[in-house]
């Protein structure tokens, strides 16, 4: 009898706990227990933090959406998977997330190679993936604009930013005539350099490109690359290694006295939070002498809007970190998804894509506008010089120059860019 009683009480307890959950499900107007969002990024290897930031951005977005009542009453559920920066793993994860776990949407992806591999698979899986970091232009130019894979939507700026913005900033610097390149020895590095040269040449036929050194993925020592290009006495350096590689490249350039000998050093993704943290001490001491320039797909000190400030505050409270751009783009991707699903009142790919047409949405990173031809959410981004700001414990980009999306995005019809060194 006593045993029965305890069993009964457990049942009662369970009922009490579970009851509130039942109406929530019943409220979901899309007829699913929850909206499942698969999240992917590189969480192992030297770029592991980018994947982690993707995960943090997605998690926080889902928490906030759910706290505000979900999407059409449906809870959002996320599940993160490490793609190891490998195409095979990314594809396998996508399949697992969609066909096994039942993801309605997927989001994330750091590596261009993984992104290109996932594209066709998404078409087969019939699920939209919001790309929030992978930078290859081919993802949207080839797979979307040319091959019409509708399942690809890009929320982060592609490589246009790394190359074209640099050309736009420095075209007016008449004192810089000799450019040299320290490039990432893979497609990203080649395209950035080629696109930069192409764009700059249009404005400045007089500039010379005097040297190049290529560093493969996972280069630990850039001293030979630095000294090789410095042997050509360039006025400015164009550098594309990113994340930790960018920090050690700058550190190694400093001790070779590079900043005494050049006018400008463009570190494409130098505005990434991890890079800014890494060079914090040098920025404080002004060791780059105001010659270091950088951008990022999103930077925490721009735009100066209440939305952005509040986002940073919440993010820091939740994770005790500053959001990197992959966090902001992923966070925003979930809100874009929310807006699209609410408009479509459906989870079907075609309807959701339709709902995105003409969409303009305010995110922490500013206004994003959907461009149908290549399914990108295009937005303005700033570039500037890393400086300290009393309001932040880590450097920010100062001396900001903001570029309009229409100026630095390439437009359809796309002309091919050389993808070799």
């Amino acid at each position: 009898m006593k045993k029965n009683f305890s069993a009964l009480s457990i049942l009662l307890f369970l009922a009490l706990v579970l009851l509130p959950a039942v109406p929530a499900h019943a409220q979901c107007k899309l007829g699913v227990p929850s909206i499942k969002v698969g999240v992917q990024g590189a969480a192992s290897g030297p770029h592991a933090d980018y994947g982690r930031q993707i995960e943090m951005g997605a998690t926080m977005a889902a928490e906030e959406i759910n706290a505000a009542g979900g999407i059409l009453g449906c809870k959002v559920e996320t599940r993160f998977m490490d793609d190891e920066n490998k195409a095979a793993t990314g594809v396998k994860n996508a399949r697992l997330l969609v066909t096994d776990w039942g993801a309605h949407f997927t989001v994330g992806t750091d590596s261009s190679g993984v992104a290109m591999a996932m594209g066709p698979v998404l078409a087969e899986l019939k699920r939209i993936h919001f790309f929030t970091h992978a930078a290859t232009h081919r993802l949207t130019e080839e797979l979307v604009a040319a091959k019409h894979i509708k399942e690809i939507v890009r929320v982060s700026v592609p490589i246009y930013q790394d190359a074209i913005i640099a050309a736009l900033i420095f075209k007016d610097r008449k004192d810089i005539k000799r450019w040299a390149n320290i490039g990432a020895d893979y497609e990203y590095g080649y395209v950035a350099w080629n696109l930069f040269k192409e764009t700059l040449k249009k404005h400045r036929p007089d500039v010379e490109f005097v040297g190049e050194a290529w560093a493969p993925f996972l280069t630990l020592d850039f001293s030979p690359h630095i000294s090789a290009v410095m042997a050509q006495k360039p006025d400015a350096i164009f550098a594309t290694p990113w994340a930790g590689e960018a920090v050690q490249l700058l550190r190694q350039a400093l001790i070779q006295g590079v900043f005494d000998n050049v006018q400008v050093w463009w570190q494409a993704m130098g505005g990434s939070v991890d890079v800014l943290e890494g060079i914090s001490a040098e920025v404080q001491k002004d060791r780059f002498k105001g010659k270091l320039w950088a951008t990022a797909r999103y930077i925490h000190n721009w735009p100066d809007t209440p939305e952005n400030k509040s986002f940073i505050e919440r993010y820091r409270k939740r994770w005790a970190r500053f959001p990197n751009y992959s966090a902001e783009t992923t966070y925003s991707a979930l809100f874009i998804m929310k807006a699209a699903v609410e408009k479509a009142r459906s989870l079907e790919t075609a309807k959701v894509i339709d709902a995105m047409k003409g969409m303009q949405i305010r995110n922490p990173g500013g206004l994003r506008v959907f461009r149908s031809e290549d399914q990108q959410f295009i937005y303005n981004v700033p570039a500037g010089r890393p400086v300290m700001d009393a309001k932040y414990p880590i450097p920010v980009l100062g001396d900001l120059k903001v570029f309009q999306a229409k100026d630095y995005y390439r437009h359809p019809p796309f002309t091919p860019v050389a993808v070799t060194k």
Partner: protein, 334 residues
């Protein structure tokens, strides 16, 4: 390794038949993901089986099998992109990998043991560098994309679409089973015996009239063919081929699978391939730190069951092959 290949016991035969039937029924009873996972397992099983012909049966540890896997995959992909015919693609992939293995094998089999391992590592990484750098042909670091799951076609006679995942599954299943069967045959044939004799003692085999180097080359080529088949099955499945499949960390996969399952058992590589994916898949569901658990399992297996998982089930306890010539210390600190 059973000294005299025994006939399969009725229990084992029943088990195998049930397993094969289950594999054929899989698409009807399981969701899309298990079917996909089954394909990955079958591909790794074929890959590992070829690898184990070298390690388990011939006594050569190759650390460059991913190179031939990649040759198979890239060749198949290039063919499918040009001519959408799956038979041609897979056959072409296997053939190219076989030729590559034959050519590099002629050089590789001049060595054994650690030198062989290092040489195959170098060759594998050369293929990796080519896949990475020869952008015009291989698509560079982004690889080849948009590879079609082309129909099985004999022009003018028959054309069967396998574009649906479930259908392609049967292509993978049937080819893998045939490959397994062929390997089973090979192991129990005179060639299989000769290779095992070389593993046991190459000097003895040579003095028994066996042209050892030639047979090592044969084993190397067959392993390359198997790697090529495994590789060729991949692009139609994933629609993509990228350079990491040629990297040494991919070469480590059949090594891991084989040693997990057991070098000294025919089924070892197959069981190991299954374990490799299932362990990873299970761990990944619970923790993002899956590598550490995988590593712990590997270490525990090596220390606890150096004969692989299959040795736990082996009826007789079999000693791991010892190299009596372990003491040939060509390596000295100088």
């Amino acid at each position: 390794m059973s000294p005299a290949p025994d006939r399969l016991s009725p229990q084992i035969t029943t088990l195998i038949v049930l397993l094969v039937v289950a594999l054929f029924l899989l698409p009807w009873v399981a969701g899309r993901y298990p079917v996909y996972l089954a394909m990955q397992i079958l591909i790794l099983a074929v890959f590992s089986l070829g690898f184990n012909l070298l390690l388990g049966y011939t006594g050569l540890l190759s650390f460059g099998q991913a190179g031939f896997f990649a040759v198979g995959a890239y060749a198949c992909a290039k063919i499918l992109l040009a001519v959408p015919n799956l038979i041609l693609g897979i056959a072409g992939g296997v053939a190219c990998a076989g030729v590559a293995a034959l050519l590099l094998g002629i050089l590789s089999v001049r060595h054994t043991r650690i030198y062989f391992a290092m040489l195959t590592l170098a060759f594998g990484m050369m293929i990796y560098s080519i896949a990475w750098k020869w952008r015009d042909f291989t698509g560079g670091d982004d690889g080849l994309v948009g590879i079609p799951r082309a129909p099985l076609e004999i022009p003018g006679i028959v054309s069967v679409s396998v574009a649906a995942m479930d259908r392609y599954y049967y292509v993978v299943l049937v080819l893998s089973l045939l490959a397994i069967l062929a390997m089973y045959r090979l192991i129990r044939s005179p060639l299989g015996l000769t290779l095992q004799a070389i593993r046991e003692s190459d000097t003895r085999a040579e003095f028994a009239g066996v042209p050892v180097r030639k047979y090592r080359l044969i084993a190397f080529t067959v392993a390359g063919l198997y790697a090529g088949l495994a590789g060729a099955l991949l692009p139609p499945l994933e629609n993509t081929v990228t350079p990491p499949i040629a990297h040494w960390s991919t070469s480590a996969e059949p090594v891991l699978a084989t040693l997990l399952g057991g070098v000294h058992s025919f089924a070892g590589p197959i069981v190991g391939a299954f374990l490799f994916f299932v362990i990873k898949d299970v761990i990944v569901r619970f923790t993002e730190y899956w590598l550490i658990w995988f590593g712990i399992i590997v270490v525990a297996l090596v220390i606890g069951f150096p004969g692989g998982v299959m040795s736990i089930f082996a009826r007789r306890h079999r000693r791991v092959v010892q190299h009596p010539d372990d003491a040939d210390h060509m390596h000295k600190v100088q």
